[in-house]
């Protein structure tokens, strides 16, 4: 059951991320907007992250057949997704994300080399949770300004992804409980909510000079 849910989640994540990434890229090519460029990086990263984990499960299922996905593949996929979530949050102008002190900047990444891949996974999940929660709140705040109903769906989607990440992280306390499958179902719901408003945007294939907007 867990294996099936993992496969569905990672496949849906890969496809939704890819679809939104392509739309953002078309938008960037048409308008030259830096915001759309950041969204392109964000959703291609998210898509790639899900794809890496999905590939890991497929290799495990059809080639290795050990019963467990290689931990480093899962960690790598989650790390790539975290990069995507960072760019979503960054698009909302995170100004205080990085520490101002150069000392803290230099040592900030150092602990990542001191912990095992299992702990790294939890670090990435918790960072993802913070970034997603930030994105969800900012998107909801923008709804109060613009009254764009699509923003509610995106905000709910990001919120569900944040909750899913939190439960996925918390499930290591209760490894065999329902928490992990629940986190995957919630994340699938989040991805669908994310895609609903985006799917209604009419696409255009026109392309302009690449130097436009510089």
């Amino acid at each position: 059951m867990e294996f099936l849910l993992e496969n569905i989640l990672n496949l849906v994540g890969f496809l939704v991320g890819l679809a939104i990434g392509i739309m953002s890229y078309i938008g960037f090519r048409n308008t030259g907007s830096p915001t759309l460029f950041r969204l392109t990086i964000a959703f291609f990263s998210i898509s790639l992250g899900f794809f890496v984990i999905w590939t890991g499960y497929m290799i495990e299922d059809f080639v290795i057949k050990s019963g467990n996905i290689e931990r480093w593949i899962q960690t790598l996929g989650i790390a790539i997704q975290t990069v995507g979530y960072f760019f979503i949050a960054f698009s909302h102008s995170i100004k205080s994300f990085f520490p101002k002190s150069s000392y803290f900047r230099s040592v900030g990444i150092f602990p990542l080399f001191l912990v095992s891949s299992v702990q790294l996974e939890h670090i990435f999940r918790s960072v993802s949770f913070i970034l997603l929660a930030y994105g969800a709140i900012e998107t909801m705040l923008s709804y109060f300004e613009n009254k764009n109903k699509g923003a509610i769906s995106v905000s709910v989607g990001l919120g569900l992804l944040a909750l899913g990440e939190f439960l996925g992280w918390y499930s290591f306390v209760f490894p065999d409980s329902i928490l992990y499958p629940a986190s995957m179902i919630i994340k699938i719901g989040g991805l669908i909510a994310l895609f609903i408003p985006v799917s209604k945007v009419p696409l255009t294939k026109i392309k302009f000079d690449e130097d436009f907007g510089k």
Partner: protein
């Protein structure tokens, strides 16, 4: 409080003015665009030059003065701009 406009939004406002809100068939004068798009003369000059060089606006010489009309490429760009503004709005962002 005045709303902050991105560079893209200013371009969208200029193109929308030349498409939907023309003084006459010859196009819009710089003064008219400055008033409608609410932008300084120095800034609009640079933007207009870029838009003309990119083929989004057409510059028309009219009795010694220049007027600007939206081109077919400009119309398509404006349509794409509105589509992707809506797309970015869903994420609570401005393009």
């Amino acid at each position: 409080m005045a709303e902050y406009r991105t560079h893209m939004k200013i371009i969208g406002d200029i193109l929308a003015t030349t498409r939907d809100d023309l003084q006459d068939e010859d196009g819009a004068s710089v003064t008219y665009l400055i008033r409608k798009a609410n932008i300084s003369h120095s800034r609009i000059s640079t933007i207009l030059k870029t838009l003309v060089s990119q083929g989004l606006l057409e510059k028309v010489d009219n009795q010694g003065s220049h007027k600007y009309k939206i081109s077919e490429n400009g119309r398509e760009f404006l349509q794409a701009y509105y589509s992707f503004t809506n797309f970015a709005d869903n994420f609570g962002l401005s393009i």
